[in-house]
Amino acid sequence: MTDITKDAIAPPRSFLSQDAIQLFYRLLAALLICAVLAVLSDSFLSLGNILNVLRQASLTFFIASGLTLVVLTAGLDLSVGANVALSACIAGTVIHKTGSPALGILTGLACGGIVGLLNGIMVTALRIPSFIATYGMLWVLNGLTYWYMAGETLHGFPAGFRQIGSGYLFGLPIPVYLLLVFLGIGTLFAQRTIWGQEIYAIGANPVAARLSGIPVARRLLLVYAVSGTMAGLASIIFLSRLNSAEADIGESLTLPAIAAVLIGGTSLFGGVGTVFGTFIGALILTLVLNGMNLLSVSANWQPLVTGIIVILAVWLDMKTRRRAQ
């Protein structure tokens, strides 16, 4: 009888982590779409258009990056769009009333953050499932915004403020810088801080996370507040980019943000996903829209194509994940 030691099972070393492989596939997909578009339309590959795509993707990305953290904890925030609308309207009013963009920006971020915090409180203290809590919040926020705006439009903001959304620095649009900065911060936060690790652990098994000594409620509050604050940031970009705000701007922002998170490979069951993936998700969505505009495809086809892409992306993700294991 030979002695079989446990060491016989040698740990296989792969040089790339699972997440890295997934991101690689996703990047490949985005590049593929680019290649197709470049063939079909000569105006696609211009620097102007690429910057254009990046700038358009930035708004979705800001909302979706905060949302990614929420989804990582196996939650969902359906109120992000409505939050953008309310924050934009309040921030806009503050700028009009005080003439101070700085004050407006702070108010916008604070308003978004407070809404996020309230979501967090509903999820943690009142123990309402996030899907429902934030759906309720969506209606409350819409009601508030409608009441506050009473069908008016806010418009006309100081030129300095408008630079944030529309300005350029060394030939690059400022939102693109912001996008890179928040992509970096988000990735560092999720992968390289212990808070990030705790968020992943909570998403994977909240009960075990709590019994492992993670302050689950506090981390969830943080995550929802961050998501809200990112919606606040998006509202500022929106304001300064469009030079105006009205009550209905949020509606069309929520589903694309969720779609970006999902296309980016973050699992709704929590514990799996990356902020960088979400960035690529936002990019893919924007590319598709951009391509359809460039190719003058009827907008009737837009929801259909987006739907197919969401399913395809997630399906391919699962396929490659399974094979990679």
Binding site: I4, A204, N205
Partner: protein
Amino acid sequence: MSDALPIEATTPTPLLELRGISKEFPGVKALDDVSFAVYPGEVHMLLGENGAGKSSLMKVLCGAYHADAGEFYHNGEKVAISSTADAQKLGIAVIFQEFSLVPYLDIAQNIFLGREPKGRIPGTIDRRKILADARRVLGTIGFDIDPSTTVDKLGVAQQQMVEIAKAISQNARILVMDEPTAALSDRETELLFALIARLKADGVSIVYISHRMAEVFALGDRITVLRDGRRIDGVRPADVTPDQLVRMMVGRNVDMTYPRNFADKPGEILLEVKGLTASTGISDINIEVRRGEIVGLCGLVGSGRSEVARAIFGADPVTSGEIIFDGKAIAGEPDLATRRGIALIPESRKSEGLALLRSVSDNLVVSALRKLFPSGLFDQRGAQRTSDSLIRQLRIATPSARQTVGLLSGGNQQKVVIGKWLAAGSKLFIFDEPTRGIDIGAKSEIFALIDRLVAEGAAALMISSEQVEICHVCDRAYVMREGRIAGHLTRNELTEENIVRLGMHHA
């Protein structure tokens, strides 16, 4: 030792025979050319360390897993078992290690899932018949409960009984039981043993997986030992001693009396619980644990031991009383207790102990993040280093620290749960059934580990339903009854009889 197998000469054809079964999972060869035969009317014990491949073999047997290679023979005829339905047709029923019950269906519906008696209208269920049938089956195993109770209201032990009823109701010729007593109390275990005797008399074959030596010798007619996915040997209980069996299982000698140096002079008080009462059903609990001690907490299932553990750890709210740890009162959530140095190894590793989809490494460092990375910046390489050393220290059988923890065998999962608190450097370890479902080798390793921890100035509070273990390793013990401390036993008084006497219900 792998020569003579006398029993196979006396009974000509096995009822079911598996030949040359192999099964590989990514990174793990779970079964490697295993042959296995079940004869009519025998109780066949299947032994092996955690991860040896016992459950996998049984899943192959019942069609839940597809073997990569191998053949099946039923009464000498070659058959194919490619689905659970095939296995059922051959009269194979399984009581799984993981429950296969549906929480919001009642007991009757669970027992007859997929085999519901048909009602008059096509597609409907004959409600009266299903309840009557369920009552009858429950009666045969001596489990007295209303079959229209939904399963979500049942405790672990009760669920195990339903699981047994479900398997029995299939009138199987071969009944596989994967660690059926791991969650049962003594009384239920007795019922189960009586049932096994009756089934055996009826000619039913039983394959029984257990880590409890006593059961092996009390029940078994024949023993097959697996190690690292290979069949090591087949023997009769009469022909081996427990020590020989253990040697076959783990490939080395293990002392099952778990020798340790009992603390003559225990250190200062580490944990003091005064008049603890919680809405979960415990009241007026007074406990004291000193550094260097292992203190047992025993009692019957349902006596409230887990609740005491959870309340001390802050997992359940406390209504009154005081918990003083290391000289300071604590009251709050588990994160506070963790930071102060308390560790809880919970009852259910799957639902409370692990993030099953994350890696071994992620799970091992999760409680120690703050300690390992005081700057708040996480570093994958550092985490990997820590977990590699824990994997070595605890002999966790895993292809790598990157393996998904849910794919490890039960015992190795348990080691990961313990490992995360080693990483956190806790001072007080509260173990709730730490050896449930753990093999003998691992068990002695875990006890040695606990011994080393307390020798270095930590302390342990240990809940276990296996009184032998409590008697072997604890310095002293509290006995619980109906949510209260019924008594205290010093090292000299610590015997199984005393524990049972104090823990029994009077009246």
